[in-house]
């Protein structure tokens, strides 16, 4: 088993990072049409009026990739995957909230 040791720094996909339509499409391994559908479906919230002017927050990369994975792996349509994503995110934020409250009550 060969090993190569490489030291690298990645790119933080946070709100301080801005991506163009083409960049987001590339990171999603997707098409123009799919990205436009994700915007129409309300999964992505770019600023700018027309697709050419659209700018996406780095945070939206993981949302877009996740919804596309759900769609593909669970054989969902885009609206179903978008609903699943919304519900999953809500569950995650409620879980985090419960966790914090439990720690406060316990401490």
């Amino acid at each position: 088993m060969r090993q190569a040791l490489i030291s690298i720094e990645g790119v933080l996909l946070d709100e301080e990072l801005t991506l163009t339509f083409a960049e987001l499409r590339q990171l999603c391994g997707s098409s123009d049409q799919i990205i436009e559908l994700l915007v129409d479906e309300g999964v992505l919230h770019p600023w700018g009026k027309r697709p050419k002017e659209w700018r996406f927050s780095g945070r939206e990369v993981s949302r877009a990739r996740r919804v596309l994975r759900l769609q593909r792996d669970l054989d969902l349509n885009l609206a179903g995957a978008a609903l699943a994503l919304d519900l999953l995110e809500e569950i995650e934020s409620l879980r985090a909230r419960v966790h914090l409250l439990e720690r406060r009550a316990g401490g």
Binding site: M1, R2, Q3, A4, L5, I6, S7, I8, E9, G10, V11, L12, L13, D14, E16, L27, G29, V61, S62, R65, R66, R69, L70, D73, L74, D75, A84, L88, E92, A96, L100, R103, R104, G107
Partner: protein, 307 residues
């Protein structure tokens, strides 16, 4: 290597219809999909389910698998048929799928990858990385070990372990993703590698709670510090700082230490919640002091409760 019972993995009978296979796969995929499931073994289970589905959903591959016979038990030591699998049949799988699948799978279907090694981009990979809050504050370097597929000249897929030193910048938050361009699965046929996506998971801290970039902390104060006002030390991720407590503060009062949360272009704040802690009286003098307070204050802490 161990025999895999794909029917058992999907929880179906050997004579299940293609429709039943599809339904069983969907049901299990919903339960164990790593994006959905909170179960700790979800990722391993999902891979197993995918592998079983990959074989059983295709009647040809299913027939080949069935030809191994039904006498095998899951986990039983398995030796591929002489000649190394299905020499005369060609099965098509994506090499990056193959690399995820078990040795058992590779021994049965391993040859199928050969025809597919045309040049294209490799798959993206993802991994979770758990770090301490203090590392999120000051940044850290972590060593990651990744398994990646290697497609040999004969089309056989094996895996090798690659070690990466990844620099995590200061100020990452829970669930934050970091993209490492070109560090995913190598591209077949000399194509460009995919990307590696790291998801940051911040371990719970005994003192601090992180909410995105803000840090919450509960600060115990003495009744006289709260009543008279005081300047007291507060722990922050960057070390203790002094905080001025206004006179007349109550438990639950929140004070903000601007910019003392996780760093970034807009750094988070530290939100300090006061908790008044009354000292237990241990001497006669201390008990006398509490009695004097009781006399000096006409104070009913339950006035608002109507009792």
């Amino acid at each position: 290597m161990e025999y895999k019972d794909y029917y058992k993995i999907l929880g179906i009978e050997r004579d299940a219809s293609q429709d039943e296979i599809k339904r069983a796969y969907r049901r299990l995929a919903r339960k164990y999909h790593p994006d959905v499931s909170k179960e700790s073994n979800a990722e391993a289970r999902f891979k197993e389910i995918n592998e079983a589905n990959e074989v059983l959903k295709d009647p040809e591959k299913r027939a080949a698998y069935d030809n191994l016979g039904s006498g095998w038990q899951a986990g039983q030591d398995f030796h591929p048929p002489p000649g190394g699998g299905f020499e005369h049949q060609e099965f098509h799988f994506r090499p990056e799928d193959m690399a995820q699948f078990s040795d058992f799978f590779a021994s049965v279907f391993g040859r199928g990858a050969r025809g597919e090694a045309r040049r294209r981009r490799g798959e993206d990979q993802s991994a979770r990385l758990r770090i301490d809050l203090s590392d999120a504050y000051k940044g850290t370097t972590r060593q990651l070990r990744l398994d990646e597929p290697v497609i040999g000249a004969d089309g056989r897929v094996s895996s090798r372990t690659r070690t990466l030193n990844v620099r995590i910048p200061a100020g990452v938050t829970q669930g934050q993703q970091i993209r490492l361009g070109g560090q995913g699965t190598p591209g077949p046929g000399g194509g460009p590698a995919g990307d590696l996506y790291l998801e940051i998971d911040i371990a719970p801290h005994p003192q601090f709670r992180a909410d995105r970039k803000d840090i919450h902390v509960e600060l115990p104060v003495a009744p006289w510090e709260a009543a008279l006002g005081a300047t007291v030390p507060v722990p922050t991720l960057g070390g203790p700082v002094n905080l001025k407590i206004p006179a007349g503060s109550q438990s639950g009062k929140r004070l903000r230490l601007k910019g003392r949360g996780l760093p970034g272009a807009t750094a988070g704040d530290e939100l300090v919640e006061l908790v008044i802690v009354a000292p237990p009286p241990e001497t006669d003098e201390q008990r006398a002091l509490y009695r004097r307070m009781a006399e000096a204050f006409s104070f009913n802490p339950r006035a608002g409760m109507g009792v």
